[in-house]
Symmetry: none
Subunit: 194 residues, 2 copies
């Protein structure tokens, strides 16, 4: 549907792929919405960009009736959301602990027969998981912010050192001699963060 017929295979050029993704994603979600309205059916679509962003459409227009179906439907969807979140985060190699945490949780949930869990049990479990999640997330953000802060500091010092070295060279060019005082200062800066 464009100037040229396109073969359906991965677009090699990254920028083209990105543009196509933007357009087609929009188109897909629009179509999903149209079908759901025109034909009065239940449609859900989720798309993950490989930069980790989530796009979705969902028409939940035919729930109700039996409470059971309603519940299981919502739970299924919730499950997806949770797992998606986990998968996204565990993509990044430096946060393997989070993946491990979730693996353990998943195992535990699988070992338990769903029927044996009462609502009360599940409420407790949910609370525990939420607490663990919040803690993990908080720690992650903290570490990342620390990292960024440290890197900014490093950058500042390196620029400072650079400036001094350049001044040094300038003065050498002008005077024809090495300015020892300036060198001394520059070396103190270097030692400070290495």
């Amino acid at each position: 549907m464009g100037r040229k017929k396109v073969e359906i295979k991965r677009i090699q050029e990254k920028s083209c792929r990105q543009v196509a993704f933007c357009k087609r994603r929009k188109g897909l979600l629009k179509k999903a919405k149209e079908v759901s309205i025109l034909c009065d059916v239940d449609v859900a679509a989720v798309i993950f960009s490989n930069s980790g962003r989530l796009y979705q459409f969902s028409s939940t227009n035919s729930l109700t009736g039996t409470l059971q179906r309603y519940k299981s439907h919502v739970e299924a969807e919730k499950e997806i959301c949770t797992e998606i979140q986990v998968t996204e985060h565990s993509k990044y190699s430096s946060f393997t602990t989070m993946g491990e945490l979730l693996q353990t949780t998943e195992r535990e949930l699988e070992e338990t027969n769903a029927d044996d869990l009462t609502v009360t049990d599940l409420v407790h479990l949910e609370k525990d998981l939420e607490a663990a999640l919040i803690q993990t997330r908080s720690r992650k953000t903290h570490l990342m912010l620390e990292s960024v802060k440290g890197l900014h500091e490093k950058e500042k010092l390196l620029r400072e050192e650079n400036k001094l070295l350049e001044d040094n060279i300038s003065s050498i060019k002008k005077n024809g001699t090495v300015n020892e005082m300036s060198m001394g200062r520059q070396q103190r800066v270097t030692l400070k963060f290495l």
Copy 2:
């Protein structure tokens, strides 16, 4: 896309609706597949006909486990429930932007007492908010990681430049002259990232 422009609203004529569903369903799943291949992203789409049948597409790229699980869950559900449900449209199902969603949410939570929002409304609202939260969080992590990556790159270049400046000074000290070639190199590095 046919002989006539169609307004996007429920098709009244049942047979027309059925035909449209058949065609558009096929089209939607095809498009979903195309996006996933062309743009190399993860896509999942599920459609329930209102006669209880399930149609779906899923590209199991890095979400294999999740989608597999989703599939089986939904299929199990399908077996149990073949009943058709009464239509009940969610106020919250089609927000185009998160801002819109949040504004509406705030307004409604402020001006209503709990009695005006049904459980169904709240479940939908919860779902939409969760999706927005996940997206925001994912974006945050992505941006932070990008930032860290950029800073590491900067650091590397600054160190490189520094090294060259130091070499330059060393050679000046040794030879008593400015090494022009070395200066040239150093300046190229500087330009590269400023």
